[in-house]
């Protein structure tokens, strides 16, 4: 079996040319491979989160309606969100999907098992799967539903992230949806095509510093069983229906590690790699996802962190009752995310295409490929937005830990911990470098994409120039918002 032992990765058209290292973590840490190969691995990671989310939903239903004193708001929208976007995604990609409790009941319904694997033959897969096992409609086999779902939830974010009952109902709805879809469709249709969290994880996992890949492409080509995608008596068929032999991006791998168990050639490994190594977007749905996420980072920053009270009131529809204002806010966000921003992006890409006299590439190809520059900038903009979330509101985590439902408990003696922001004067000094780092990575990877497309530094520079100005302008807007 061929192995990669800390060698530079072979050049790949979709990879950043500057990628100089790749480490097989299963070789470096054999215990990690043993842990991941255990059948109980994924469930062991899911169970604590299942308990937590169950507590969150109960707290949302039966706890205090005051968000800052209810664990569902404090732990989900402050702690979990911060850890997810700041640490988990950039470092570990879609590792949240490994441990997410939302689809576990659907999985059980489909597999009739939480840990063990069932052999069988179901719609060409080598596992026994229950339910109707219908194929997900081809026309919806993209992330458009996730795009619109996330945008819809985000427009109601002022309610979602402050009202315990709203969060509880949304999580309950997602769990219910996952169960229904697991019964009707094969594999994890909910996670692949509907889950709003999965949508943005798929995009930003492209930047992550780990990847699950085949060790030897040759071994995959010669493999006749294709157990990674079809399953075997050692592991379930890939819930995302990903064939490891051709996997070249993190987007749609949920890191469940079933393929590591099922591969008959022991040919799958976890690799560490440089930040932002996946640089190829593959469709309009992903481009629009990048646009939506960046616009929403801006919208959240304006509504939740900005000084404009009237905009907060527009977004806070359940308290203000100002439907006219809400309509303005919702329409503006939607238009900006779906029309204006993608339109501006298209214009600057076309301008760059004209400057570079690029005729060998279509506008579509350039638009999709260069839209990747929104990914590092978007991720870092979200991180910059999340920093004050936890620095200003983090004290609530301490008090809520002891009184999760606002019932007057004092489990760990910290219920009386008073709110106090953590070094608020330092927030802009943290946000600014994070944003500038995002701009740097966007320009850097954008240059690599352009170089890959045009093969000439001068042409790549000309093609990227208008987009660089656009990205810099976006960063300046964020800086003005955060720093003043």
């Amino acid at each position: 079996m061929a192995t990669i032992r800390n060698q530079p990765a072979p050049p790949h058209p979709d990879e950043a040319p500057s990628r100089t290292w790749r480490v097989n973590l299963f070789e470096k840490f054999p215990w990690l491979k043993r842990v991941v190969k255990a059948r109980s691995f994924q469930f062991s990671m899911i169970l604590p989160n299942l308990l937590l989310f169950y507590l969150f939903i109960l707290a949302g239903l039966f706890g205090t309606p005051i968000g800052s004193r209810n664990i569902i708001i404090v732990f989900v929208w402050i702690l979990w969100w911060f850890v997810l976007i700041t640490l988990m995604v950039p470092l570990l990609g879609r590792v949240w999907c490994t441990m997410c409790p939302l689809p576990v009941f659907g999985d059980w319904l489909q597999r009739r098992a939480l840990v063990k694997v069932r052999s069988g033959d179901t719609v060409g897969l080598r596992n026994k799967l229950f339910g109707l096992n219908k194929r997900w409609p081809r026309k919806l086999s993209n992330i458009w539903l996730q795009n619109f779902g996330f945008l819809f939830l985000a427009i109601f974010s002022a309610l979602l992230v402050t009202r315990p009952i709203v969060s509880a109902l949304v999580f309950g709805l997602l769990i219910g949806l996952a169960v229904v879809l697991a019964y009707v469709y094969r594999l994890r249709a909910f996670c692949s095509y509907l889950c709003p969290i999965s949508g943005f994880l798929s995009l930003y996992s492209m930047t992550s510093m780990i990847e699950l890949r085949s060790v030897s492409a040759d071994a995959c080509q010669k493999c006749t069983s294709k157990a990674c995608v079809r399953g075997s008596d050692q592991g379930w068929a890939c819930p995302w229906y990903v064939y490891m032999g051709k996997l070249d991006r993190n987007n749609y791998c949920g890191l469940c590690m079933e393929c590591v168990k099922s591969c008959p050639n022991d040919n799958i490994a976890l690799f560490a790699r440089p930040f932002a190594s996946d640089i190829k977007l593959k469709g309009y749905d992903e481009v629009w996802k990048a646009c939506i996420m960046l616009v929403l980072a801006l919208s959240y920053s304006v509504v939740l962190l900005g000084p404009w009270g009237h905009i907060k009131n527009w977004a806070n529809i359940s308290e203000s009752g100002n439907w006219g204002g809400f309509a303005v806010y919702a329409s503006a966000t939607t238009l900006l995310a779906l029309v204006v921003f993608p339109g501006l992006l298209y214009l600057v890409v076309r301008l760059g295409q004209w400057l570079a006299r690029a005729r060998e590439h279509t506008s579509r190809e350039l638009f999709i490929r260069l839209a990747y520059t929104l990914v590092p900038l978007g991720l870092l903009a979200w991180i910059a937005f999340s920093v004050p979330l936890v620095m200003v509101n983090g004290a609530y985590i301490i008090s809520v830990l002891s009184d999760p439902l606002g019932w007057g408990m004092n489990l760990f003696g910290t219920a009386g911990f008073h709110w106090q922001p953590l070094w608020p004067a330092w927030v802009p000094y943290l946000q600014a470098p994070i944003l500038l780092a995002g701009l740097f990575w966007s320009l850097r990877t954008g240059f690599h994409v352009a170089l890959d497309l045009f093969g000439d530094r001068a042409l790549a520079t000309r093609a990227l120039a208008p987009l660089s100005v656009f990205l810099t302008a976006i960063t300046m807007v964020f800086l003005a918002l955060f720093v003043g």
């Binding site: 063990k116 009952i165 007057g408």
Partner: protein
């Protein structure tokens, strides 16, 4: 081994699904009565939106769709020990029983404050919100009636309205 490999996780999951709500229920049904053994526990929640102190449970599932009714007079026996668990479902309130020199006690939103007292003398005890919390702040008041021997309300007419400053009539 293979047959049992899934029984443990299923059992653990089922136990968790049952145990957690039971534990939460146990907090109210077992722990609080034990903590305040010998005392009667009364929970009062202040709502500025409705201008009431209510004894109805106020929580995420009903706060946004329900109007809550003010607590009727609370009757306690002379000499009975009472623990009032005071909560606020919206803004900062405060609580006071001027006749007993209790309070003002701040009741921040989402938090619970506990005050213990004994009804020594038969008669009405007015409780009210001491801090201007909303346009209907004046409505946030109620009565605890200490019943005398034989369950009688005492020599003073409990229907008497207290003075505007909140003190019971002498």
């Amino acid at each position: 081994m293979k047959a049992t490999i899934d029984r443990v996780p299923i059992l653990v999951t089922l136990i968790m699904l049952v145990a957690l709500p039971l534990a939460l229920l146990g907090y109210h049904r077992i722990y609080l009565p034990y903590k305040f053994r010998g005392a009667r526990i009364i929970t009062l929640t202040a709502l500025a939106s409705d201008g009431v102190w209510t004894r109805e449970p106020v929580m995420g599932i009903n706060y946004w769709r329900k109007h809550f009714s003010a607590t009727p007079n609370i009757h306690i026996q002379q000499g009975e020990s009472v623990v009032l668990r005071l909560a606020s479902a919206d803004v900062l309130h405060s609580f006071a029983i001027p006749a007993l020199n209790i309070g003002p006690i701040e009741v921040p939103a989402g938090e619970v404050r506990e005050v213990k007292f004994t009804g020594e003398r038969p008669g009405p005890l007015v409780f009210l919100c001491w801090q201007v919390c909303s346009p209907v702040h004046e409505k946030l008041r109620g009565q605890i009636v200490v019943l005398g021997p034989g369950g009688q309300p005492g020599p003073e007419d409990p229907k008497l309205e207290p003075d505007l400053d909140g003190r019971s009539p002498q």
